[in-house]
């Protein structure tokens, strides 16, 4: 496999052909914020937090789905990118009803961590306060759409790793919701194997173990990549 050399933030990088900018950056210890990306499942470039500047490109590119190109010049931490990332996080908070103080994921939440990382001390947009449902009809798990950021990690992990595709997305724009089976209550979704991979994958408190109380949803998200790696090596 051919090697590609290029620079990120003026640092000379060597990566394998076909690797993404995100993979190459992380291998070299350069951090790029992500939210929808999850090791072990495919990338969709949905959250736009990993946008980077590429010299000669008019548009910003999501690092998680952009392959490296010989001699490209990438910047990951410019003033413009910092402003956009903060704005993206603020919009996520404004779009649904995130109340960290009483959330099951408080202290263990990727959205909360990102808000701190991008320096979000307040939200400059009006909160939308949408009316969102909570579904705890499943005997083990629950989903609170108030806390969902539509990253679709649950959809991908259910489809690609567990192989059942219980989760999907219905509706468009602000009405979009992750759904189980044909938009049935989760407890009635016959395809669900109750494996819990979506619970592991969720970055916020949206999907949780039933009965969890404030701050109790700690999860080991690396388990997904571990399962995938173990499977691939055996095959």
């Amino acid at each position: 496999m051919a090697a590609r050399t290029f620079t990120i933030n003026d640092q000379l990088i060597s990566a394998r052909e076909g690797e993404t900018i995100l993979q190459a950056a992380r291998e070299h210890g350069i951090s790029i914020p992500t939210l929808c990306h999850l090791d072990g499942v495919s990338s969709v470039g949905a959250c736009r937090l990993c946008l980077v500047e590429i010299e000669g490109s008019r548009v910003l590119r999501p690092a998680c789905v952009t392959p490296v190109v010989e001699e490209m010049i990438v910047r990951t931490d410019t003033e413009r990118l910092r402003e956009y990332r903060r704005m993206i996080i603020e919009l996520l908070f404004a779009e649904r009803n995130h109340v960290c103080a009483v959330c099951v994921a408080n202290g263990h939440c990727e959205l909360q961590d990102l808000a701190i990382a991008v320096g979000m001390d307040h939200v400059r947009f009006d909160y939308a306060f949408p009316r969102c449902d909570v579904d705890i009809s499943h005997p083990l798990f629950g989903i609170d759409h108030n806390r969902c950021v539509l990253c679709t990690r649950c959809v991908r992990v259910c489809d690609e790793v567990e192989g059942v595709h219980t989760w999907d997305v219905a509706g468009r724009g602000a009405d979009a919701r992750v759904i189980t089976d044909m938009r049935q209550p989760w407890g009635e979704a016959r395809s669900c194997t109750s494996c819990g991979k979506c619970v592991l994958a969720c970055p916020t408190g949206a999907i949780f173990r039933r009965g969890a109380t404030v701050g109790e949803m700690e999860r080991d998200r690396h388990k997904i990549a571990y399962i995938v790696a173990a499977r691939e090596q055996r095959w």
């Binding site: 009483v102 449902d133 705890i136 109380t213 404030v214």
Partner: protein, 473 residues
Amino acid sequence: MTRQILIDPVTRIEGHAKISIHLDDNGDVQEARLHVTEFRGFERFCEGRPFWEMPGITARICGICPVSHLLASAKAGDALLSVTIPPAAEKLRRLMNLGQIVQSHALSFFHLSAPDLLLGFDSDPARRNVFGLMTADPMFARAGIRLRQFGQDIIAMLGGSKIHPAWAVPGGVRSAPTAAQRADIAQRLPEARATVLDALRRFKTLLDTHHDEAATFGNFPSLFLGLVGPHGEWEHYDGHLRVVDSGGAIVADQVEPSRYRDIIAEAVEPWSYLKMPYYRARGYPAGMYRVGPLARLNICTRIGTLLADAELGEMRQRAGGIATSSFYYHYARLVEILAALERISLLLDDPDIDSLRLRAEAGVNQFEGIGVSEAPRGTLFHHYMVDAHGLIQSVNLIIATGHNNLAMNRTIAQIARHYVKGDRISEGALNRVEAGIRAYDPCLSCSTHAAGTMPLVVTLIAADGTVLDEVRR
């Protein structure tokens, strides 16, 4: 003029109050009203939440007594799960509630009321606060602040944080303290005990010099309501409801807390957001009752620990039996701190709390759950209805400040009759009216923390409706 607010539903409050004093044609005080003008909406926005989250959410009702809501909510959750929680969990919850009683009572007495009591009701209002107390008697003020810290540290030891710990959960508690943490608390007990005994000694001398206040600060017959143990002993976490009248006769006893609606009804007045609960059998407003430290000591047969029982005996002797003056709330608070310290000492040595079994697990087994415990300010009810999956359908909260609503109004009227003369409100009279409310330690005074800055407006209204005087803090 009084303002009429017509917002439905009338529900929880904390923080802002207004008092109007109405005069008759002769310029004498006819009636006085405490208007609670803040709307919180907890009962509404909790609808639709999984009930497991309720302790964490309702703890946010108050920053001074989050533990009370945490425990009542967790107990309502226990009822929904239909479980008996592990013994260690119950004892640890009790330990936290005792820590809460110590810190909240210490705050009420030392930070909020001691400036009135020790510096004088008519002293300079600029210095009549906890800072003035520090200047006048630094050792006493310091000891009081450390006593509150002691209670707070018990809460932090168990729950991980002093304020809003999400530690008690439906089915039990999340964690137990280490032996080292327990030892640290235990070695601080003697200092705490010395502080409260000193405060008791001082309060008793004050009683001898404050006959006027004791006679007019809410001194009237009323019922008293609270939880008692199986033999009528002092309770703070579990037990059954007892109602006692001012003659000491037991009116209702061993009432299952989940049947509270059999004995308590709630009236609504258009001039306040705070409901007016009353004892159902006596009707409204004759069924006025008081809750909190004074009520708990008036209804119990005994406390059950040595020092506290001795102090209870002396208090009853001084009051001539049942204490009917709300001025005695301060006294009762100090006796309860002592009782709490003695029980904390016993619980810290209890081998049961070493158990690793802290949380009972179950699904939703009841659609209705009622949790009752004694908050520092009085009996607290959390009443939830859930659907088959455990989502909250309705919430009813009855909070101590609400129980005391009728009595607080009566107290204000009594103080106003005694101290308000003519068409002006003097500073000393204003302060006594405030202090009358402060005796109940309602959430509206503690939400602002600092004595003398209670967000209070007192309006003096003539018979024809004209406003004669208005004083603001």
